[in-house]
Symmetry: C2
Subunit: 513 residues, 2 copies
């Protein structure tokens, strides 16, 4: 079984899907624009065709398994129509046309085929025909992104697309971005905007590091005190069930999975406020010091609480994976607590607290397994100070379950870490041993909605190309530079506050101030 549900052969739709779009065709002088991340195989010619928003329709093909009513594609058509024609003042113009008008000689038709066998997704634009073959609706969404980047405006505002042939598929199946909503609260709008930008760079996993030491913004229906006492503010700095559902369904329409992380037994200070008895009381000189450490692994009540919490989490977050954290557990408090030490003896762990941690994690993994979820945990081989000061490869799918455990390795980029100058270049050339993918981690110590977007984009896009494109074709940073500059201007044009790479300008500067 793969981690990815996307691009998996024939998993969603097994029959043929045709998507036709009809636009008028003329010929003119050439201009070629790039696509970011670079497709696996890309050929284009100077031959260009005008694209007129008034005559532009997405049309489901006759033999397509998906037809109008397929919400993922219906909404994708709408979104991409606006993205392709930012100047278009849509009045009564419908972006899709019900019925199959064929493709007269003076029309460019574009088709999405969804085929039930493993061939690369393909996009073809030529004088008489433009078609997109995609195995799955998700592949079709990625193809729409590619197509939208191929359409460009000349100096007079007319839209064009060049004759193009593209075969495409991702290099890695897991292409994630982590947002940390505990160190600073991110309003739902900031998350949705990030999902937009993720789709533009073909990211497909939103790793939601939703709670941590500083705050617990997730409003649990089972344990409402967790947020009412553990959030920065019980009303304004929380994610309600409805907020979470909104994020998940919004992400789904972009082909992005939401991987929730409820990190324990460490990083749980905020949990303790709304759940007395959950955390380990620390001792000093034989008496409780009044401070608390990680979750108390010695109490049966801990596991009863976790079972109920993860039962709720499992139903709220439909993804088959759940991230259990497990990083940076400090043993000092456990060691200070006499009850924990008694438990250690009883369990035969001696003085080895890594065994106690493994016992705890194993229990939580068993809880989530019983809920038919696959667990992911952090590779806890680094300490907090290293984490905030140096970017490094740090996580994998923990080998906690000894038998039958699938190993997932992912490199990550700590993009909250900033330095002066063109630091995207490092991300671009970073060549860690990626197994099934990687993710960009935007930890929240110094990041909130005020600076999230310019810190993330276009630097995360550099990572996106490592994750999507062919390694050999994208080995030159210097060749990537003008393409990334161009892509950054596209992001600006789409309202993403992506910061500049270096001196220069975009035709349409950011006007959001």
């Amino acid at each position: 079984m793969d981690v990815m549900f996307m691009i998996t052969c024939g998993r969603y739709i097994r029959s043929i899907l045709y998507l036709l779009l009809l636009i008028s065709v003329q010929f003119g002088p050439h201009a070629v624009e790039g696509v970011w991340p670079l497709p696996q195989a890309f050929t284009s010619s100077p031959e260009r065709y005008p694209v007129n928003s008034q005559d532009f329709y997405f049309v489901y093909g006759r033999q397509s398994a998906a037809q109008q009513g397929c919400s993922v594609l219906d909404t994708a058509f709408k979104r991409y129509f606006s993205l392709i024609f930012p100047d278009h003042n849509s009045g009564s113009h419908s972006t899709t046309r019900n019925g199959h008008n064929g493709s007269p000689a003076d029309r460019l038709s574009w088709t999405i085929y969804l085929v039930p066998f493993c061939v690369p997704d393909n996009l073809s634009i030529s004088a008489g025909k433009a078609s997109l073959n995609a195995e799955t609706v998700w592949g079709a969404v990625r193809g729409l992104e590619t197509f939208s980047q191929l359409v460009y405006q000349d100096d007079f505002g007319s839209y064009f697309v060049n004759k193009t042939e593209i075969d495409d598929f991702p290099r890695f199946q897991f292409r994630g971005i982590l947002l940390d909503t505990s160190r600073h609260f991110l309003p739902v709008q900031a998350i949705l905007k990030t999902l937009d930008a993720m789709a533009y760079s073909k990211f497909n996993v939103f790793h939601w590091h939703i709670v941590d030491d500083p705050s617990f913004p997730y409003q649990s229906s089972t344990f409402p005190d967790l947020s009412s006492k553990g959030a920065f503010h019980p009303m304004t700095h929380i994610y309600t069930q409805s907020d979470v559902r909104r994020v998940i369904s919004y992400a789904r329409l972009w082909g992005i999975r939401v991987l929730p992380e409820f990190d324990s037994p460490g990083h749980t200070t905020s949990w303790g406020k709304g759940q007395p008895g959950l955390l380990t009381p620390c001792y000093k000189g034989g008496t409780p010091s009044g401070t608390f450490g990680p979750v108390n692994p010695a109490l049966p009540s801990t596991y009863r609480f976790m079972a109920r919490l993860f039962k709720e989490v499992s139903s709220v977050f439909p993804d088959s994976y759940v991230h259990l954290g497990g990083d940076e557990v400090d043993f000092h408090c456990w060691r200070s607590n006499p009850d924990v030490r008694v438990f250690m003896q009883k369990m035969g762990f001696g003085g080895d607290f890594t065994k106690l941690e493994a016992f705890y994690i194993e229990n939580i993994v068993n809880i989530t397994s019983a809920l038919n979820k696959t667990s992911i945990v952090w590779q806890d081989v680094f300490d907090y100070h290293e984490r905030v000061s140096t970017p490094q490869q740090i996580w994998d799918l923990h080998r906690i379950i000894k038998a039958g455990m699938r190993v997932l390795l992912a490199a990550q980029w700590y993009i909250n870490h900033i330095s002066y100058g063109q630091d995207w270049r490092n991300s671009y050339t970073e060549q860690k041993k990626l197994v099934i993918g990687g993710e960009v981690c935007m930890w929240g110590e110094y990041v909130d909605a005020t600076n999230l977007t310019p810190r993330l984009w276009p630097r995360a896009s550099a990572v996106a190309e490592r994750l999507w494109s062919d390694e050999k074709q994208t080995s030159s940073v210097d060749k990537a530079f003008p393409r990334l500059q161009d892509f950054r201007c596209k992001l600006l044009r789409r309202g993403i506050q992506a910061e500049p790479l270096y001196v220069g300008h975009c035709k349409h500067e950011y006007q959001g101030i």
Copy 2:
């Protein structure tokens, strides 16, 4: 003569100005809020008075020299009313009241006195009376800022102000921010927004580094080709005369001077596009290489051009100072050019190109002196690579004119240079030998409207406190931290996209995404 026109004794208004504002008074439990930058003398008590927007008016005092019609204060009253009451939905409510209603016992009155002798500006808020004494209208504007920061809301949305006594004046007279609009074009809106935020931190000089090598966005009426050929785009990436006037008059209402910089003879690549013959042709192997160096100092036409350009600049920018640049002149091209070498011989400079540079600068200074402007130039003791990679103290008023030249020293903070973590702490403790002030430099290599605001704020505010407040009272970074956090939340509340200092939250998070 001072550099600053602000806070100079009796310079603007010599008689007494009273400003009264009437608000209803009650007593309640206490809460004290801070002011950033810290006033010179500040005492407040837990005694607090409710402030009700419906009953709140700014009223000019009877004996005030300024009365309704004083545009600086009239507009300041309007702006600060909205800043003090962000929730107030202003319908027909007038923020000022014509006439002098006295101060009944149940009212808090607030007066601005403008006195013709040198005493510190004073703000006093007590049960029966609230008054602001200011020597000048500009001091009154700063006092309004201070007052606006004293008003706070409780958890139920009611406004309060505490009993407070403040004596205040700036530590340094020159408190500037440099924006670079050549490496990236900054839309006028981004500049205006920066002026707003500058006023909130009591900055008073906008150093407009308007042109440089990459682009010439200033649209000159005398030489329109400079921008039509030298800007990134001749229509969309320029500052028209009207744009410049708008910036200057907007800044003036905040008590901010606009110091224009037209940097030469180096940093002029963009000038050459619209002014053929201005730059020095570089030679290679005895023939012109096709590239150009600094402005050609050997040609009389150069000085005729500069005289006409600076005549225009002098009339467009009313400030008595003009910045001539003069930094980072590379002598290679001059040295390669045979005509320049002949000129050197003729002038008796031998092989010393610093003499040629001094000759050039002296000519330009004479041009601007004849226009009744005082010149400022960069201390050209650093090379380009140092500049972008390390923050350092780098500029003073050049000692080019040997006799009678006033020396202006200013430390600066290169705030475009970013590093991970709490780098505001360095700015806060930076203790260069400041003579008349300092400025924050936001060079534009990696900054445009997408990331200008979060990179500038609240880090520049840390510098602002060094420039405004008493050195001894503000020597502790740890004491400053919670105050700066609080001030950053105030900036958010005012719509300034100021980035977080560390983990935490504000009551009103940034919602601008």
